[in-house]
Amino acid sequence: MDPLPLLVAVPLLAGFVLPLAPKHRIRLTDFFALVTSAALVALAIAALRQPDCAYHVGGWGPRAGGPPLGITLVLDGASKLMVLIIAVVTFAVILYSPSYMARFTGKRKFYSLFFLMVAGMNGVVLTGDMFNLFVFLEIASIASYALVAFGCEKQELEASFRYLVLGSIASYMILLGVGLLYAKMGTVNMAHLSSKIAAAGGLAGAGPVTEAGKASALLIFATTLFICGLGLKAALVPFHAWLPDAHPSAPTPISAMLSGLLIKAIGVYALTRVLFTVIGMSDVGTPTLCNLIMVLGILSMVGGGFLAIGQQDFKRLLAYSSISQVGYVILGIGLATPLGIAAGLFHLLNHAIFKSLLFLNAGAVEYRTGTRRLDEMGGLNKRMPATGATSFVGSMSIAGVPPFNGFFSKLLIILACVAAGRYVFASIAVVVSVITLGYFLKVQKQAFFGALKDKWQHVREVPTMMAASMILLALLCLATSALMFKGPRDFFLGHAQRSFTQRQRYVDRVMRPTTADARESTERMD
C-alpha cells in the first residue's frame, strides 16, 4: 500500500469513526485512538523508507509533459521528517490523554477533533498544491479553534475567540495570496508555479515598467500576504498576540499538540515550503526577503524570551518560550544556506519533542496539584519523581545544555550564522539561549526542587500511562542528539534540507508523466 494518501486518510477516518463508539465503552475508544496513532507511526516509518515520490490523487497525473491535472501529494525529505515528528508526538500525546481527559465530558468529541487536526497537519505537510494547502490548513485550524475552547470556561472561550478571529484573517490573506498567484501564473500546483515563477525571473525582476516587472510586483504582494498569513499561524513576534492565550487555555494534551506541532506544521513548514519551493528564496538572489525572515526570527526569539521571564503561570511561560524557540527555527531557515536550513529543521524537530514534553509535565503537575502557578509549587521532585526527572530533561534540552538535543541544534544555528557572516545574529542567539536557561532554572527551582510544601504532602505520581508518555519523550530528547553525527544527520536533515534548496528536483518529481506504477525506483537516498 502507498503510505502517502493513507497518512491523511487514516486520521481523517478515525476522526469521524471514533465519536460513533458507544458512550459507555470509553475504554474501547481510548484503545482505538492509541491503535490509530500507532498506525500513523508505522505509516510514517514506511514513508521514511520510501524513495521520494509524488502521488497524484485520483490518477490525475501529468499528461505528455504538461502539469498534473489534479491534486498532488509529494513526499520528499522535509515532508518525511515532518510526518515522522507529527506521528511520534501524536502517539505520545494519545498515550497521555486517556487519564488526563477523564475529567472532561465529551472525550469522544475530543478524539474526533484531535484526529481531524492531525489529518490537517499531515495534509499540509504532504500537499503539493497551493489551494489544497489552504484547505488542509483550515481543517487543522478549525479543529484547533474548537479544541482551545474545549473546556468552555471563560478564559478558554475568550482565548479561542481571539485565536479564531486572528486565524481567520490569516487564512483569508493566504487565500488572497493563492488567488493572486493563480491570476498571474494560471496554476495552483506548487511545482508548476515554481517553474513558471523561475521563468518569470522570480522576485528579483521587480519594477513597474515592463510587463514582467508588473508580474513580479504582484508576486511581491503575494509573498507579503503569505508571510503575514503563515507568520500569524506560526506566531512570529509581530503576529504572536493570540498564542500566549490560546496555548495555555487548551487542555494539556492539546497545548502540547499546538505548541509542539501545529505552529510548526501549518506555520513554519508551510512558510518554508512556500518561500523556498514556490517563490524560490534560495536560488533567486533576494537578500531583502532573507533579511526580513531573519529579523522576524530575531524579534520572536528576543520578544518571546523576555516575556517568558516574568511569567508565573507554568503553561503561559511555556507558551512564550515557544515563540522564542520558533524564532530560532525561523532564523536558521532565513539564512537560506544549506547549513542554516538543516540547523533550523533540526531545532524544529527538537522543539517539537521537548516542548510537548514540558507541556505534558505542566499538565501532570496540574493533574495532581490543581495549580499552574509556579510560586505555589515547590519540592515536587520528592512526590513526583518521574515528572520531576523528565521535566528536568526537557528544561535542560530547551535551555541548550549538553548532551541534550537542544544544545546541538542551537550550536548548529549559531555556527550557521557565523558561517554566513551574521555575527550580530549569532551573538543574539547566544544571549537568548542564556535567557532561556535562566527562566527554565527558575521553573526547576520553584516547582521541583527545594523543600516540599505542606499542602503537597499527599500528592502522588501520575498514572503509569501518563508517566510512560513523558519518559518516552524524555528519552527521545537524548536520542535525537544522535542527529549530530554524520550518518543520521545526512539521512534526516541533509535530505530534508536538500528538498528546500534543490528546487528543480521537486519540480521534476511532480511534473514527470505518470507511468503504470508511478513509482520511482531511483533517488532512494536522494
Partner: protein, 113 residues
C-alpha cells in the same frame, strides 16, 4: 479596477474586525472580508460573454469561450470552509454571552495580553 474594489471590501472587513467592540459585529466583519476574497477568486475566472464551462459539443471554440471553471470550484470549497468558521465563531460568541452576559469585547477581559 474591479480587483481593486475587492481589495477595498477586504480592507473594510479587516477594519471592522479591528474597530468593532461587539462580538457579532466582529464576526460579520470577518464574513465581509471572506466574501471579498471569494468574489476576487470568482472574478479571476470571469470572461465577458463567456459561456458555462460545460462542454456539450455544441460550442465552437469551447476553450476560448468558456469561463475558467477552476476558480469556481475553489470558491465553492472556500465558501464551505467559511461557513464552518462562521458557525464555530457564532457558537463561541453565544457561549461567551452565556458566561459574561455581554457581547462587548472590552468587558470580556479575563486574560492579560
Amino acid at each position: 479596477m474591479v480587483y481593486l474594489l475587492c481589495l477595498i471590501v477586504f480592507s473594510i472587513g479587516i477594519y471592522g474586525v479591528l474597530t468593532q467592540r461587539n462580538l457579532i459585529k466582529i464576526i460579520l466583519s470577518l464574513a465581509v472580508a471572506e466574501s471579498a476574497v471569494n468574489i476576487f477568486l470568482v472574478l479571476l475566472g470571469y470572461r465577458t460573454k463567456g459561456i458555462a464551462p460545460i462542454d456539450d459539443g455544441t460550442a465552437a471554440n469551447f476553450a476560448g469561450a468558456a469561463v475558467d471553471p477552476l476558480p469556481q470550484a475553489m470558491v465553492l470549497t472556500a465558501i464551505v470552509i467559511g461557513l464552518g468558521v462562521l458557525a464555530l465563531s457564532m457558537v463561541i460568541a453565544i457561549r461567551l454571552y452565556h458566561r459574561y452576559g455581554t457581547y462587548d469585547i472590552t468587558k470580556i477581559r479575563k486574560l492579560r495580553g
